[in-house]
């Protein structure tokens, strides 16, 4: 795991947004890498620019300075090699469940032959527990099911990377927990390189192999913590003292940044 081949690299990345009160530094001189097969979680206070980092990896925005590279080549736009899970799942409401899953497979960019499509759709319908809803439109689905559908659609095109931006934020605790285990199961079976943005420390420690604690704005890396628990992980892991010690440590680190963020907001409100 330590010697993982480097895939995505953030190299001295900075990001500024123009605002009415002058340019706002959102990300400041950030460098880190995501290695082959790694599961990297970014945790930090909300509004600290985590989503911006994911948008860079996805190819939706370019940094103001610095480089984001994939296998050494600069990322210039989105592509099917990097599957993205958005906060708002973005399930297409005008397509049925199975049509949603097949969407990426029917594009010109798809490398899948028409004969294989059906089998892939079947596989993910079963895997995500959506078989009974295959002909249903998304309006009939619960939040957890939409989430699973979005995951199925992203996975169906076989991306090498999965980029997730707070994908479980809108789910209730039970559904979220079930999604965590489903995700671990699929990752175990298919082996993907993952970048996860979250504000839940527990989620980060349970899922990731490496956790980056991001500072208050402008984003810097405050701490990098390797999570030593081997995969596949079981729910029981969350009850162990090792898990809780690690969680408490990272939580403390994140809370300091929350406090800093609060102080920033206060001084802005006064200024």
């Amino acid at each position: 795991m330590d010697a993982a081949r480097e895939r995505i690299r953030f190299q001295n990345v900075s990001m500024q947004f123009p605002t009415a009160g002058g340019p706002l530094d959102v990300v400041s001189d950030m460098s880190f890498t995501v290695g082959q097969g790694e599961f990297v979680a970014l945790v930090g206070p909300s509004g600290c620019g985590k989503t911006t980092l994911m948008n860079m990896a996805a190819g939706f925005v370019k940094p103001t300075s610095g480089r984001v590279t994939l296998d050494g080549k600069e990322i210039t736009g989105p592509g099917p090699d990097r599957g993205v899970m958005f906060q708002e799942y973005g399930v297409f409401p005008w397509l049925t469940v199975e049509q949603n899953i097949a969407f990426g497979l029917e594009l010109k960019a798809s490398k899948v032959s028409p004969g294989e499509r059906g089998a892939i759709v079947e596989r993910y319908l079963k895997l995500m527990g959506l078989n009974d809803f295959r002909k249903a439109y998304p309006k009939k689905l619960s939040g957890g099911m939409r989430q699973r559908l979005a995951l199925a659609r992203a996975y169906a095109v076989h991306p090498e990377f999965v980029l997730m931006d707070e994908p479980f934020g809108a789910l209730d605790a039970q559904t979220r927990s079930a999604m965590h285990d489903l995700l671990l199961e699929i990752l175990h079976a298919e082996g993907k390189t993952v970048m996860l943005i979250t504000h839940s420390v527990e989620e980060a420690v349970y899922l990731a192999s490496k956790v980056l604690v991001i500072s208050a704005r402008p984003s810097r890396i405050r701490e990098v913590i390797d999570i030593p628990f081997p995969y596949p992980r079981q729910r029981a892991l969350q009850e162990t003292p090792e898990f809780n010690a690690l969680r408490a440590r990272i939580h403390g680190s994140v809370m300091l940044e929350y406090a800093a963020q609060e102080a920033q907001a206060r001084s802005r409100a006064q200024g």
Binding site: A58, G90, F103
Partner: protein
């Protein structure tokens, strides 16, 4: 349960559409019987029905209806044909919207009747002139619904499609088009109403036939029964076509997040 509901829904759709007219009819009868209005100024429903019957069997009612429906449908289709691409363009490109929005709101507010002299000057008094007025009215009604709808489309779907590898063309055909279908249907319904409302104005342009022409001819002879007949026919045709469109919409956009009812 669901099946029973739908069946009941279909029956009551028609029933609910009919009910207010039963009230309207009774009000009409009561008003006439009450003596509040001079009976020569308000024909009874029965006498209007007699006018309807003679017009239907001996007169030109069917020919008039056919003519008017033809004009409305033609004006409406032409209006939609232009409104849909223009709505796309205006809704999609912000600079275009900024430029075109004031123009559209300027022209949209002009009453079609005010344009009749100009239409006659430029297009004469033939069929083209009448359809041009209907085209004008339905285009401006439809285009505004189209582009207002377009601006409400969430960009997340386009982002998702891009991450799955969609090209610009695929994003247009597989994401933008299906997302705008509901707005097209709404635009069509709004424009249909506006087109019928403009029919009489368009038939002011030297029309020999059509419901609007029928009303105008009748007014020259103070033939109130025929005037009422023409008005009722226009209303009934507009209502019927709207119900039909609504049924088609329901089927086409079954995916939409609407409470059934």
């Amino acid at each position: 349960m669901a099946k029973g509901n739908r069946r009941g829904g279909m029956f009551s759709d028609f029933g609910w559409a009919l009910l207010p007219f039963v009230f309207l009819l009774s009000f009409w009868v009561l008003l006439r019987e009450s003596g509040l209005i001079n009976p020569t100024l308000l024909p009874s429903p029965l006498s209007v029905f007699k006018v309807f019957w003679t017009n239907l069997t001996q007169g030109e009612l069917l020919a008039n209806i056919r003519m008017s429906v033809q004009r409305v449908v033609l004006g409406l289709l032409l209006g939609m044909l232009v409104a849909v691409p223009v709505g796309f363009l205006v809704g999609w490109y912000k600079p275009v919207r900024r430029f075109v929005d004031p123009l559209i709101n300027f022209f949209r507010a002009l009453p079609p009747i005010a344009l009749i002299p100009l239409v006659i000057v430029y297009l004469g008094i033939g069929e083209v002139a009448k359809i041009a007025i209907l085209f004008y009215a339905s285009f401006f009604a439809a285009v505004i619904v189209m582009y207002e709808g377009m601006t409400q489309i969430s960009p997340v779907y386009i982002r998702v499609a891009r991450t799955l590898g969609a090209t610009d063309f695929e994003i247009f055909t597989k994401v933008m088009l299906p997302m705008t279908v509901p707005h097209m249907l709404t635009a069509l319904r709004v424009a249909l109403g506006v087109a019928w409302a403009t029919l009489v104005a368009s038939e002011l342009v030297a029309a020999q036939q059509g419901l609007g022409a029928m009303i105008q001819n009748a007014s020259a002879f103070f033939d109130l029964g025929t005037i009422y007949l023409g008005i009722i026919c226009i209303g009934a045709l507009a209502l019927g076509m709207d119900l039909l469109l609504r049924r088609i919409s329901k089927r086409l956009v079954a995916w939409q997040d609407k409470v059934e009812g």
